[in-house]
Symmetry: none
Subunit: 186 residues, 2 copies
């Protein structure tokens, strides 16, 4: 159970600090009787109390909350997926359009200095951009916005927009296109 994780983590940490329950009680403002109960897993502290404890110890919550490591063993099985490429701006399909989910996903590669302009999609289409590698500029309402690797952008794709790589290195980005369910939704 979860109380056991907190109990063990807290007891272990306090011991490694070399603090007695009394010292810990002084530093945290939580009674030593309660600290003892928590460490023995006899009581589940409120978040306010746990906050006082971590503040007194000057540690992040995660030190107390995270479970110990565990490894699993399993049988190894292999599966692969076919990918396709195209000209112009290079892209490949990550997930083809699914009528149930109403979205599709692509991976794009834009060479240095390349620009790709895209006319507006149908009304209600929303596009997500995830920059995987390099830097990408997105043009919306005649303004270019710079996204770095790891950054994302969600915008309405029912407007003209563009992609540009002004850097000296290639840009790789993924985009998810969300299509509205029906016109009646809007």
């Amino acid at each position: 159970m979860f109380n056991t994780i907190i109990a063990n983590n807290l007891k272990q940490f306090r011991n490694s600090r070399g603090w007695s329950l009394a010292r810990a009680a002084d530093e945290t403002g939580v009674s030593k009787a309660m600290l003892g109960q928590i460490e023995r897993g006899e009581s589940s502290p409120t978040m306010a109390t746990l906050w006082k404890i971590t503040q007194g110890f000057q540690i992040p919550m995660s030190v107390v909350l995270e479970p110990p490591r565990d490894n699993s063993q399993s049988v190894e099985h292999q599966s692969k997926k076919q990918l396709s490429f195209d000209e112009n701006i290079q892209f490949r399909v990550l997930f083809a359009f699914d009528p149930l989910l109403r979205c599709e996903m692509f991976a794009h590669q834009l060479a240095p200095g390349k620009t790709h302009l895209s006319s507006s999609h149908e009304r209600g289409v929303i596009e997500d951009i995830i920059v995987i590698e390099g830097a990408l500029e997105i043009k919306l309402t005649d303004q270019w916005q710079l996204l770095q690797a790891g950054e994302t952008l969600r915008f309405k794709a029912d407007q003209d927009h563009g992609y540009r790589n002004s850097s000296a290195e290639r840009t790789i980005f993924h985009n998810v296109i969300h299509y509205p369910k029906t016109i009646a939704d809007h």
Copy 2:
């Protein structure tokens, strides 16, 4: 105060899920009166209760514990801050759950030799995996499938599944979680 952070995070998350207090009470096993108290910051939940809540929502603790992010309308520059599910896997939010699109997106990092097991999501949830860097193994129906960088996999996430990096280098992958429309599902 700390209770306010939990209160706001919890209320915001529940609303973004589109769950009523009654639905959340069903899923979490915590009374709706108590959920309401927590969300209004009137009560500090015990760790056991908060654990039940996060288990019922199937979210990591950090979602509830971290100070909220600012969501810009047109441009979402997601924080690059790593969140920790446990010691095995770190993740960050690329796109938070959107009730309109009914999906959310995360970037994960799995260190060499690490495994992360995930219990089944609610009925009808579909998960997309995109391996960005390294090699990733996905466990489905007790079988591990190997995906290389650039490869993708879509599977039903309403089953127990797992992620594993058996290689000597880190693995980075993105996943998109698609949630079913509430009315159509129930």
